[in-house]
Symmetry: D3
Subunit: 296 residues, 6 copies
Amino acid sequence: MYTPIEKANILMEALPYIQMFHGKTIVIKYGGNAMINDDLKKAVMNDVILMKLVGMNPVLVHGGGPEISQLLKRLDIKSCFVNGLRVTDEATMEIVEMVLVGKVNKGIVAQINQYGGKAVGLSGKDGQLIVARKQFAITADAHGNEIEEDIGLVGEVEKLNTDIIDAIVEKGYIPVIAPIGVGVNGESYNINADTVAGDLAVALGAEKLVLLTDVEGIFTDVADKSSIISSLRSDEVDGLIKEGIIAGGMIPKVQCCVKALEGGVKRTHIIDGRIPHSILLEVFTNHGIGTMVEKA
Amino acid sequence: MYTPIEKANILMEALPYIQMFHGKTIVIKYGGNAMINDDLKKAVMNDVILMKLVGMNPVLVHGGGPEISQLLKRLDIKSCFVNGLRVTDEATMEIVEMVLVGKVNKGIVAQINQYGGKAVGLSGKDGQLIVARKQFAITADAHGNEIEEDIGLVGEVEKLNTDIIDAIVEKGYIPVIAPIGVGVNGESYNINADTVAGDLAVALGAEKLVLLTDVEGIFTDVADKSSIISSLRSDEVDGLIKEGIIAGGMIPKVQCCVKALEGGVKRTHIIDGRIPHSILLEVFTNHGIGTMVEKA
Amino acid sequence: MYTPIEKANILMEALPYIQMFHGKTIVIKYGGNAMINDDLKKAVMNDVILMKLVGMNPVLVHGGGPEISQLLKRLDIKSCFVNGLRVTDEATMEIVEMVLVGKVNKGIVAQINQYGGKAVGLSGKDGQLIVARKQFAITADAHGNEIEEDIGLVGEVEKLNTDIIDAIVEKGYIPVIAPIGVGVNGESYNINADTVAGDLAVALGAEKLVLLTDVEGIFTDVADKSSIISSLRSDEVDGLIKEGIIAGGMIPKVQCCVKALEGGVKRTHIIDGRIPHSILLEVFTNHGIGTMVEKA
Amino acid sequence: MYTPIEKANILMEALPYIQMFHGKTIVIKYGGNAMINDDLKKAVMNDVILMKLVGMNPVLVHGGGPEISQLLKRLDIKSCFVNGLRVTDEATMEIVEMVLVGKVNKGIVAQINQYGGKAVGLSGKDGQLIVARKQFAITADAHGNEIEEDIGLVGEVEKLNTDIIDAIVEKGYIPVIAPIGVGVNGESYNINADTVAGDLAVALGAEKLVLLTDVEGIFTDVADKSSIISSLRSDEVDGLIKEGIIAGGMIPKVQCCVKALEGGVKRTHIIDGRIPHSILLEVFTNHGIGTMVEKA
Amino acid sequence: MYTPIEKANILMEALPYIQMFHGKTIVIKYGGNAMINDDLKKAVMNDVILMKLVGMNPVLVHGGGPEISQLLKRLDIKSCFVNGLRVTDEATMEIVEMVLVGKVNKGIVAQINQYGGKAVGLSGKDGQLIVARKQFAITADAHGNEIEEDIGLVGEVEKLNTDIIDAIVEKGYIPVIAPIGVGVNGESYNINADTVAGDLAVALGAEKLVLLTDVEGIFTDVADKSSIISSLRSDEVDGLIKEGIIAGGMIPKVQCCVKALEGGVKRTHIIDGRIPHSILLEVFTNHGIGTMVEKA
Amino acid sequence: MYTPIEKANILMEALPYIQMFHGKTIVIKYGGNAMINDDLKKAVMNDVILMKLVGMNPVLVHGGGPEISQLLKRLDIKSCFVNGLRVTDEATMEIVEMVLVGKVNKGIVAQINQYGGKAVGLSGKDGQLIVARKQFAITADAHGNEIEEDIGLVGEVEKLNTDIIDAIVEKGYIPVIAPIGVGVNGESYNINADTVAGDLAVALGAEKLVLLTDVEGIFTDVADKSSIISSLRSDEVDGLIKEGIIAGGMIPKVQCCVKALEGGVKRTHIIDGRIPHSILLEVFTNHGIGTMVEKA
């Protein structure tokens, strides 16, 4: 297909990136289409295996995909949403945890192992990895006053005990993490996977945080694919939100990047998980994918 | 309640056992009533924490309890049984794995951590811990010829990769293991927890294998509680089965013990999990509980 | 004797203490009746072995018991005392050292080993463990002026080189220490064992200092056994001495505790060595023994 | 130049090779045009850096190139040859060693370091790496009887002390080795670089031996480029020599491969160093270069 | 005193011995005049310190010197002897142990430390170093039949647990060992120091065993100092005993050497401890001292 | 030749120096007659081996001796000098490097190994040990203004990467260093060996810097051998230069010592390499050789 010289050139293009990220931790939030489409799944697993093999420390945090909703539906458990957050009662939480930890997490682990990697799955309960506390939704009452609304077992990260990650990384395993937190009484909390990825990147002193999404990046003009903003300083974010250029579901993702940067992560990337091997292209080539958010 | 001298005597009774089992691995199959009753659960968790603290290496393998059946029932998935083994199609397997790994396993882990221990849960997929192959049920056809009947995703252990257990034990964690095996194509297998416990005891060079059950032990006369057989040599087992003294569900448990003894495990115990702290009493006191099966 | 449930309860009572003191150093001054009575001796040895087995680091400092006086008497060496301190000339010192190091210390070591522990005896000369300087007795001359009186080879700690303790503790041995100091010219000094225990507790960063005595503790009314002071803050000590509640031989013991607390030791205990397993009861049960002196 | 998908495909093609050779030693004989042409030199250095970064252990053995002859000529030192071996007197040996060790070796080291690798150069004298003995040329006298002819300080490997290689590899350096041996009296020997590479591959338990040459490989018909023999079993070698297909300077190279295979090296390759990145293509792609000699 | 060139020559003479014994264990039995005369004592201590500093592992086993008899005499304890062995009742044993461990051992330790070494003293009780059993004297009854005579607490080595020696040697200390054994019930045994030294040399895989004595060596003609036998093969010993050339107290010393040689010790030396620095001269110079016994 | 007692005395004289320098680094600049005369060479090699064996860490930096000039002459390459520094064009540099690295360095290495030591040679290129930059000669123009004159590839130390030295020292090798620096583009620089030795002594935290020269030391009256200045404070240097007592080639040597002292080296010595074993005498005896420069 390719001439030897072409192959060599592309491998050589990867060399400086391999040097640069040697021994560095890269936290990847894995979600969206890349979790559903079989080819994309396989590509992500292989990208992560390659990163590990060449001396990087990839850490995978995954979301739940459509499988949580499917099982809730089969069990006829209805959910309501506040500010886009699912109100999570105990019956719902039980299903969320079973799907995330017992199905999605172990599915990823099995697949990495099948392709020749060595993965171990962790829930936030293992070794008290993710200690969480209740999160409230901020809404407004009838008078427009800000109020905290109880949305059940939705949590935010209180403390990360990364010893267990260190232990398994040291032995050559790739950690795969389900974003379930554990409260002081052993109760489970559902936490946003982007947030867990960002907080973990800070706690692990990661070099990079990569968020896989289902969009191509941020555009100054959504209608014009050529207007993609390939790189962005963290102090530009507020302005772009006000202008409406960063909008909707992209807002929390970008804020998650800004928070990670403030915590010491070097670079953060919001990339299009629908492109096969998008992580590999981002990490190993000159060909930047999506939008990079850097420290101001 | 007790005088100081009484307390001291009991603590002193434990001393030789602590010496004897220092640094030794003890595999415990955790199941039955001890997994359902809250007081018994708490007692088991604390027994395991105490073992770990005094220098032993407890490894917990758990069964599924009634929760698998409950969820299957809620989802209206019906099971048929061959030779007492649940025929496990893919839809069933998915539920079995979610409950075992996402609910039961993490529940145990959270509870140990809450009581001051340090636990990490593992499925057989993590680090390829339990590689499994398909198991068939042996039945007879119309002519009385022995045939292998396909019972779906029921598996038996093919290989145990215990590196991941070593890695986390070395860092001070208690491993809690769900008996899910992984096949060559990454598919999940449901494996009997007693079998996994026995095979793990052999693979880890364990000193003891302890099976928690819901019976008091083996009796020469079931009607007579005083006829309990407190200790048994492995070469007596066949005879006792023929005599009907070892019968029903006790047969595979005793055979599991015999197999572990043949694999090098020093002592095996079938104990009554309905007695609070039965593990602790078995391991730390003169007061043997249930039936011990020893090498001939 | 005890029901299984009673045994389990008492073992469980020990669990939080084992957790609390895991990996912590506990220095024990061993003296008085507990060194003479055979049953008490055996109990102390076993308490120490149990502490070691469950992950604590016990360090034993012993006194000389009545054996020094016996040998001095057999050799017709007479002693005079200043302020309760034996004036120690070279001939006396030779006997003191031979008895402490060659008889008492090795007797304790042999006994611990016989009961299944692993002990190594050290004098302050081994690895220059206890470097000492001459101590003077403070008395008054005919005019009531304070003068330093020469009492021979009585010493005080100048420097502790605890490397040798670390080396043997790391290999799993229990150190048993004779309170002999060594001067700059290699000469021997007799040092008070309580003082050595207290200074060692500070140098080793110990969690606890336990002084075994022949009294039940400190009483507000000696005639009334129920008036025992079970706990005491270090800033209350001076007042209690003035009131005469802490008096006689108890004064230096309490002051030794106060000094250890100032040096960073967490808790100090003056306990009744005449109660069998008093150390074990103090360390492993809710049942406090004697008087605890804590930091103000 | 290439689409992202093309880049990803080529990187993915390297993945199984990176997995296969992780932690494995690969000995490369570096010589010929690849040592003269600046672009080829740079390509080789980068190939080696890439191998090191992705977890392989490349070990470079180099020849002398034309620089030895140039300096001998400038100094007007004439050489005669027996069986193609330069008769090496002391004056010649001095020059050979200075050029190989002081110029060629350090030039390679400096270049690897300049491109971001970490190299250390070694002569066979360093840590007694290559202990040598005198080699004789086998010729015939006037009567056709085989005789050993003295050709001076030409040596063969007697013993390899690879400790120094292990020491520097363990610290992350790439060893670069000049084929100078040292005799029992400290005298220098000139040894054939292919031979040193082959013997080192055996001593280091290497996975691969790669000999860079200035030919494309072995052809059944030299005139027909399509007749290249891309793979060859060691038991076919003698036949091919007899047929004249393996001839001239290729004979000792192939014999060197056979000897390495007999010593336990897994695969050996004679590749065309005139193709840029030929090592990289051989090691990381499906695109075999030159002729592989495998164990029968 | 000496010219620089003389000093340099003598230091250079030591070089090959330092190379030869680097990292090797040398067990020295220290006794006789070298333990009494102050200058000789100082010389021995310094020899041992020098050996340690240049990378050898000296292990000192000492006897009791005249101090045991002195204290027994002061206490009016009388001893009788059988076959030259002191019949050792409990009262005697108590004194022997106190003097050996509490006085002689710690005196040596203090002196080594004072001269800048790092020593730790051990009795056979520490870490169960020397496990002993009762030894009987072989005498004859009235009819000339061989009988075993009870001579009390005289012991022979049953087992050596050298872990404690390894632990302190590893940390840079010189072990100084009193030849007291411990029986199964914790009782003390008096053991011949030469025997302990010989058995330890075997157990530690020593390179050399050096026995310090008060004679110049073995002479073919005692009256003729020039007839010293400077080296001797172990198979010559029996003949020399029969000839009466090896006689009296020298017999057990030579037999101790032979036993050590059979146990794998490389060389054994019986040297004159009355010559200052005799150990140093034996170990570091061409000037052999006394008689060397080598393997046949 | 010497009596045993004389030998013992001299060995004992070395003891305190061996204690003092145990584990300490001693950097030795090796040059002058000691590199030419065969007996002196052998003596230096043996001194260094002895230092290593007794626990010191000698590091050898060598100059080039007359061999550079000889080869330049044979090749008819002429040099001019500015301020005593050879103007070094590329052709000259090539020869300098080949001789220093390929001949002198490996000659020293081979000799140390032959005498029983373990040496590894390093150029400043190995592991980027000596990163250098261009040095200019400071001269004056016709108007007496100070100007920087280009003298080609003469360099000064910019940075020392001592990792490679640590790696080989840790494995027991003696590092032998050729004073060749490497520039940012991989080009070679010729650096003064005294300067490299001084800078390395600082970078390695050396205890001593020893410069071997061809003079006996510094004299207040050169004509009077008894006027040697055996020790000198760094703050006396400027005065002695002004007085002309320190003059000529001795000035940069003394300044090199002063710089090393300012960088934390404890003591520096300028000693007469023409005395056999002068290093040994300086390091191991009371007999100071040459002139010591100490911190003020």
